[in-house]
Every structure is written in C-alpha cells, then in structure tokens.
Amino acid sequence: MSVLDNSIEQLAQQVSSGDVSAAQCVDASIAQIRAQNDSLNVMISDCEDAARERAASIDAKIAAGENAGPLAGVPIAIKDGICTAGHVTTAGSKMLENFAPPYDATIVQRLNDAGAICIGKANLDEFAMGSSTENSFFGVTKNPWSTECVAGGSSGGSAAAVASGIAPASIGSDTGGSIRQPASFCGITGIKPTYGRVSRFGLIAFASSLDQIGPMARSAKDCAILMNVLSGHDVKDSTSARNDVPDFAADCEQDIKRLRLGICRQHFEEGLNEEVKASVEEAIKALESLGAETVEIDLPHTKHAVATYYVVAPCEASSNLSRFDGVRYTSREPAEKLIDMYSQTRKVNFGEEVIRRILLGTYSLSSGYDHELYKKASQVRRLIKNDYDAAFEKVDVIVGPTVPTTAFKIGQHAQDPLAMYLADIYTASANLAGVPGISLPCGFSSDGMPIGLQLQSNMFWESTLLKAAHQYQTQTDWHSKRPQS
C-alpha cells in the first residue's frame, strides 16, 4: 500500500505530524508516474526537481514546528492548460511546446500556500477542446480501467492521474463537461464549481465565459478539502466572485434528510445507455434512503445546450486563440511575409479540432456570414439559465447521469466530430448557466467501465453537492474501487 492511498485529510495529517515525509509522498508519486506513464500517457511533463525542493522545504517547516498547511505534502497533478511559473505549460499544443510562463496561475499559488506539491502537468485535449484527450499534441491518454478506451476529456490526464494512483488529487478545468466527463469515465469524483468561484487567472482560456477550474479526487470529501483551498475572490480575475466561501469539508458532514432531488425527464430519454440508466436509478434510490426526496422537474431548453455550446464556445475560442500568432511566445513557422508567417504558424501548430473550432467561431461571429447565430445562441443560453432558476425554486439538487455512456474506444469518434460533441449533452448546460456540477462514481458497466452520477445545484451551492456526494459515498464503495494496474 502506498502512502498515497490515504485520503487527503489523512495524508496531510500524517505529513504535518511527521509520520510521513513530504519527500516520501513525492517519491511515491514519481514512482507511480514511472510505472504508469509509458502505458497510459497521463502526464505531459513531471515537475520532479521542483517537487523534491518543495518537499524538502515543507519537511523543514514541519521539523521546525511550523504549520505546513491543510494540504501539506499532498502531490497534485495539474492540467497542463494551467500556468506554472518557469515550468513549460503547453495546453496540449505544439503551439506552446516550449512556453514557460513567467507567472503562476492563482490556483497554483493557493495550492502552494496550502502546502500541496505540484507533481507534474497532466495531459489534455489541445486547448481543452475535446472530450477524449485524443486531441493532445502529446498523444492520447488511456483509461486506467481499459487501455483501449479513452480517459475522457478534456481533463483526461487529470482524471487518469487520480485513477491510476499517480496523485491523490488533480486539478482540471471544465468548459462543457471537461472535469465531470473524464471523472465519470475514470471512476473518480470531480466538481465543476460555480462560475467565478475559483479564479481563472493563469488558466489558458478556451471559452472564457464557460471555463471553470475545479478539483478531481477519489472522493467528494477530498474534493471539498481542495475546494476550501481553491475558492475565493481574486483581484486578478474580474469575473471572480466576491461571495463568501463556506467550509466545504465541514459541510460534508451534514445529513441530506429532506434534500429535494430534481429528476429531469430529458436526462433519461433516448441515447442513454441502459446500464448507465440502471446505475443512476440505483444511486437515486440510495440517496432517497438517506432521506432525500425526489421531485420531477423540467429543463425544456437543455436539449439545445449542445447546439448553444457549440456556438458560444467556438466564438469565444476563435478570439481567445488569436494571440497564438508566432510573434511573442509561441512556435513560429518561417515565412517571407508576415501574413504567411501567421497562417503557416497557425496551420502547423494547431491541431485539427482546434482549427475546426476556430473556423466555426470565426464563421459564427463574422458579419458576412452567421453573426445572428451568436446572439441567438446567447438568448437560448438565457432560456437555459431561466430553466435552472425555475427548477431551483422547487429542488436543491438536480440528479442524473454525467454522460450517456461509459468511456468509448480510442478512435471511435475520430471521423465524426458531431458524435463526439454529443458526449457533452448532460454537462454543457451547467457551464452555460454558470451553475456547479459534480460527477461521482455510481457503478460499473458489464465490461467493467465506471459509470458517473451527476449532481447539479444552484449558483454557489457547492456545499450541497459535496454533502450529497459525500453522504452517498459513506453508504457506497464505488469510489474506492481501483483499476488493476
């Protein structure tokens, strides 16, 4: 048994009390990267030297009797779309193959201040655009439960890092389901917080109004501990929320008696895999047995969430990715004239899916083509938000599947971008409305692949999600299953 098998709370306590050294945690994590990365391709880079230095300074602090923080010595894998000062941050793109930002993301600073150790940078779909991590310039991440399957995406590396035991927790980002879907595929717990709850400063933007950073871990309680560290206002992010941050970990301990669970018919209609459906229904029963009540609700516009998402996200992305132009910090293709340098650099260094979305966004914003599309989609986005507002008048939590299926085979959707986009069908609406959502394991398919349960709540009600998920995990053991390595 590895020290990393402990819960985060236990691990940090052991490190703080000196029972386990931070150096041992780093050793265990690095050993696991060595053992797993060749076959799973979870990490784009490790931070071994920096991690050992950090561990030494944490151990010295503890030896001197100082408080090393609530995450003392906890190794954490960080999605490589999040900037780490002085350490190459690629966003999974050839474009940023050699880019070492001179600044940390705000969440990286917060993690450091809490005593956590960044162990390496996890693989992702290029610029977080994808649902399978197949779009990474650095190759596909394989699912620790079956190497024939994808780990999901875009935070596939972050999910697989936790599932494969490389780190007890990781950081992902979620634009249309990019934390929840890979968490579901890899059998772990991951939460997309309320938009604005966690600072986006240092997160390489895909679609700024949808992107949100969040933790991924083995349990809801671990996620809650991380949420305590990640959350809070940041003056560097104008969209960061000024709301008070509760003690998420403490709130987990409350019961869920009389919690009103909304069941949305649209989440159980055609396209939902029968095994997934059965597991989710079973999980709802388990929540009822804990005292929750179920209420039927209607989210009539969520069926348009994917279409809305695939207008809004590419529009913002087409603009966000204009800065990658070969002038200041990216790769560059040589050319005689500026305009050719631009179009060569962007052709060669962006992958196919990124180009597809940039073009789609450019098309949708262009006055010559479909500029009404962006406005229309933004109006539908309002209707989706209104649906949520109405639903949360009646219920505290909306419960349903995270993804219609379990992890699909690598290459299965390679020829059909649209089929891949539909993997976001249950998750994208939370990003559009800004509400939080959590995915947690609730069973396995007959071929042994994890199934995820999604809970969503009103803005800033993460405590309720984490509490419900934690209470469920006190009654079930799906979250403690490990793939055979």
Binding site: P102, Y103, F201, G202, I204, S208, R328, S366
Partner: protein, 503 residues
C-alpha cells in the same frame, strides 16, 4: 452611376463637404488600462510590459478605475450622455503590435453617448455651430511597429510599451462642413481636454491622434449624390488635418467629375496624408474588408455608473473654455479676440489674468482691458522668449496688479511702468523697490503747479498756439517737462496746464 446626371455643369462650389472626425485621446493615468504597467512615454522598448499587456495565455484584464473616471469627466465636458451601464467588447484583427489578436474596446454600450462641442471658426463672420458627437468610448491602445523603411524588406520590430495605454476615442457625426471648421473643432476639443486635465494632448508623442472621414454631397434635381467616403489616417497636426481635408475634397471633386463614381459604387477607402508632398495617397487595402467580429469581452464585467459618480465628475470640471471666454467678455469687457487669446493660453493664464484685472480694478470694477493688454503684450512676449508657462512667470499677479493700480492712479505712466516691470523681472524686487531704484516718486500737486507755471512762463509761443486751438502742441511741453522731472505723469500734467491757461 447615374447616367442622366450632367456632371459638366457642376462646379466645386456646388459641392457640400461632409466631414466626420475620429479623435483618439490618451488618458492621463499612471498605469495602463488593464494592468499595472506604467504609461510613461519614451522608455526603452519593451520595458513597460508584463504578461497581461503582452497577451500571454491565461492572463486577464482588470479595469483601471481612473481611466473610467477620466472618460466620464471628458464626456461631461463634451456635453455627452453618460451611460449608466457600460461594457467592453473585443474587436478582432491580427497585427503584430496587437498582442491578443483583439483590441478591448466598446461596441454598443460606450461610456459616453451623444454630445456636442460649440465651435466658432476664427476670423470668420459665421456664428458658432454645435459640432455633434456620436459617442466616445474607452479602449486600449496598440503597441508600436517599426518597419524597415529601406525598401529592402527587412524585419519589422515591435515595441509593446504603449500597448494597453487607455484611449478615449471621440467620434463626431458627419457634421463638419469645412476644413477650417474641422481645425477649429480640434483646437476647441484640445483646449477642453487640457482644461479638464484628462490628457497631455501631445501630438508629437501621439497622445492626441486624428482620422478624418471625408466625402462630398451634390444636390442635383432634388436628389443627393454622395462621393465614396475616404478615411484619411495619420493626421499628426491640426494644420495637417485642415490641409488634408481641403486637398481631399478637391481630389474627390476631380475624381467624381471624371468617373461619376458614387458612394454606392465603391467601399470606404483609406488614404494617408503625406505632409511633405501635401497630398493624400491611397493606403494599401487590407486583405479582406474589415470584419472585426465584435462580441462582448467575457473576461470583463459591465460597469454601472451612479448619479453620485457623475455628480462628482461634474464638480471636478471647473469652468470650461467657452464659458470662460464669455465671462472675460461680459465681466472684464474684453473683445472676442482678446478673450480667446487669454483662454487659449490655459486655465492658469486665465487665473492670472483675473487676479491681475481684479487686483488693479477700481470701485469694484475689474481693470479688464488694461490687464488684457499687459498680459497679451508684456507677459506673452516674455513667455515666448523664455519658452515658459505662466506658472514660471517671475512676477505674481498681485505684484503686477500693484503696478497697474499705480499707473491707473497716476503715480507712474505706462512707459515708465514698463521699465518698472523690466526691473522687477530682472531683480525680482517688488514695485516699491523698483520705483526707488528707478527714482520714481510721485509728483505732488505743489510741484506740479510750479512745473506748469515754469513751462507756461518759458514757452509763451506754444501757449499762444494752444489757446489758438492747437491742443496737440501740449505734447511739446510734456516732452520738456519730462526733461525737468522724469516722474511727471503726462496725462496729469496735460490736464493741469490746460486748466491753468483756462481751456
């Protein structure tokens, strides 16, 4: 093209000139619009940059409060509607000195809505006109590209120090009717901006930049025919703006006579003003027509402007140039020209003038005309010679008012007064010390009577002439008197002599 129109009979004087201006004003903040880098001009290239203003991935903009406050202040000074809800949008285009590939600007909710500037073309008998403003919006400046001018196709170099400097873009309606009026508008605008201290307005340093949209309208058989709109860029002085518009209007007229091309036949073109050749020249068209794909910037949130903020901004404006010119005319009795001269020299000069006129006035009435003469001649000449501003002028308004009062009171005449001022300027002394140094003492009435009697006794022929009606002859007595006593006041002496001889 309308084939039925007989262009041959149309003269240039039949054309109505239509001009709209876009003025970019750099706002006077210490730090940039969306990050903390300094806005100082003239530093070494790329030394005033950071990850935010170089557009590094993951970085985010945070709005500079002062830039917004200065925009509100400007809007109020330009009689604009101030938005209660304002937001920022992205204007997308690629250029190497635009780090993010988009400029953060404002599209549909600018800080300032419609307004106007009252403009009078100098030395013309046209009454003043309101030049209508469309809007004014707050945006970030781009960096600087330095291209290889050798023609050998060398690399371009990029300096991002200026990137992110706050700019207020003021857009007029196509409401300007002549090149002179355009220049007068720009002059008045600059004066207002200087008065409210929102910008350095230094055209050499690029803190004030101007583009002009120009075309011609012809009324033919009750129909308006318009020539294609041309945007003239790179107008780096007000004179250049005036000349470029004049040149462009003539060029468009000739072109239209030749081709008959109207606004419906050609898209907006961009031309540059060549100051050395004194003509506009076509600028290379962009690869595709401008398609900026504006959309709301999701990294920034809207700003609500409250009544209190607007009230505070209003109270900080001070009296504006137009109102000051009126005040100088109505309260100080100046003519239009003199009031314009003083107001155009800046708020400090107006303050100086008012202190001078008030301090040297009599019976609660300011000494406007005389103060204006002294300011316009003595002080302005000194400031020009010394390349100084009124704040550097060595003689305070109070001191100079003392001197002017003594001139008014007859202690000293204007000519000697100027000698006194020269003495004060060179030695830094006060009026009385200068009088003492120059030996100026007030001639009392006994001395004056004696002097008059002496002059009358010694110059009987002149006295006869005066009595015969040739009053001018008194002048020769005054000359003689000043040889006897240089302090004698010519006006007073003249009156005394005439009184004694009974005229």
């Amino acid at each position: 093209m309308n084939a039925t129109i007989d262009r041959d009979s149309i003269k240039f004087s039949d054309a109505k000139l239509i001009v709209g201006l876009e003025v970019h004003v750099q706002l006077k903040t210490d730090s940039k619009l969306f990050c903390g880098c300094s806005t100082k001009f003239g530093s070494d290239p790329n030394t005033q940059t950071c990850p935010v203003c170089t557009g590094m991935p993951g970085t985010l903009p945070v709005l500079n409060q002062k830039a917004l406050a200065l925009s509100i202040k400007t809007g109020l000074a330009l009689n604009c509607e101030i938005a209660r809800y304002t937001k920022w949008d992205r204007k997308n285009y690629f250029y190497p000195d635009l780090p993010k590939g988009y400029q953060i600007s404002q599209f549909d909710k600018p800080v300032c809505g419609e307004g106007f500037v009252e403009v009078k073309v100098p030395k013309s008998d046209q009454p003043s006109r309101k030049i209508r403003l469309e809007r004014a919006h707050l945006e970030e400046d781009a960096g600087k590209s330095i291209h290889d001018e050798s023609g050998k196709g060398g690399v371009s170099r990029i300096d991002l120090n200026r990137t992110g400097t706050p700019l207020l873009e003021i857009v007029t309606k196509p409401n300007i009717r002549s090149a002179e009026e355009a220049k007068a508008f720009l002059t008045e605008l600059k004066q207002i901006l200087e008065y409210i201290a929102v910008s350095d307005c230094n055209m050499q340093e690029g803190s004030l930049r101007c583009d002009a949209n120009v075309n011609l309208h012809f009324e033919i058989d009750g129909e308006t025919i318009a020539t294609p709109i041309v945007e003239i860029k790179n107008l780096n002085s007000f004179r250049a703006a005036e000349r470029a518009i004049t040149h462009e209007s003539k060029r468009q007229f000739k072109q239209w006579k030749k081709s008959g091309e109207s606004i419906h036949d050609a898209p907006k073109q961009t031309r540059g003003w060549d100051d050395s050749a004194q003509c506009t020249t076509p600028q290379r068209e962009k690869e595709e027509s401008a398609d900026y794909r504006y959309f709301p910037d999701p990294d920034l949130i809207a700003v609500i402007i409250t009544d209190e903020e607007i009230e505070t901004a209003k109270n900080s404006l001070g009296e504006l140039p137009a109102s000051l010119r009126t005040t100088l005319q109505s309260e100080y009795g100046l003519n239009e020209y003199d009031s314009a001269v003083i107001v155009s020299a800046g708020r400090k000069m107006v303050d100086y003038f008012r202190a001078l006129a008030d301090g040297s006035g009599k019976d609660g009435k300011p000494n406007g005309k005389m103060a204006s003469n002294w300011v316009g001649q003595e002080i302005m000449r000194y400031l020009n010679e010394h390349n100084a501003t009124i704040e550097d002028y060595p003689v305070s308004a109070e001191t100079l008012a003392d001197l002017l009062s003594r001139i008014v009171g007859g202690e000293v005449d204007q000519t000697r007064g100027k000698e006194v001022l020269a003495e004060m300027l060179s030695s830094g002394c006060d009026v009385q010390s200068a009088f003492d140094k120059l030996g100026i003492v007030k001639v009392d009435s006994g001395d004056l009577d004696a002097l008059c009697q002496q002059l009358i006794d010694e110059n009987p022929a002149v006295i006869e002439e005066i009595k015969g009606g040739k009053l001018k002859a008194v002048g020769s007595l005054i000359g003689k008197a000043r040889q006897i006593n240089p302090n004698v006041n010519p006006g007073v002496l003249r009156e005394a002599i005439l009184k004694i001889i009974g005229i």
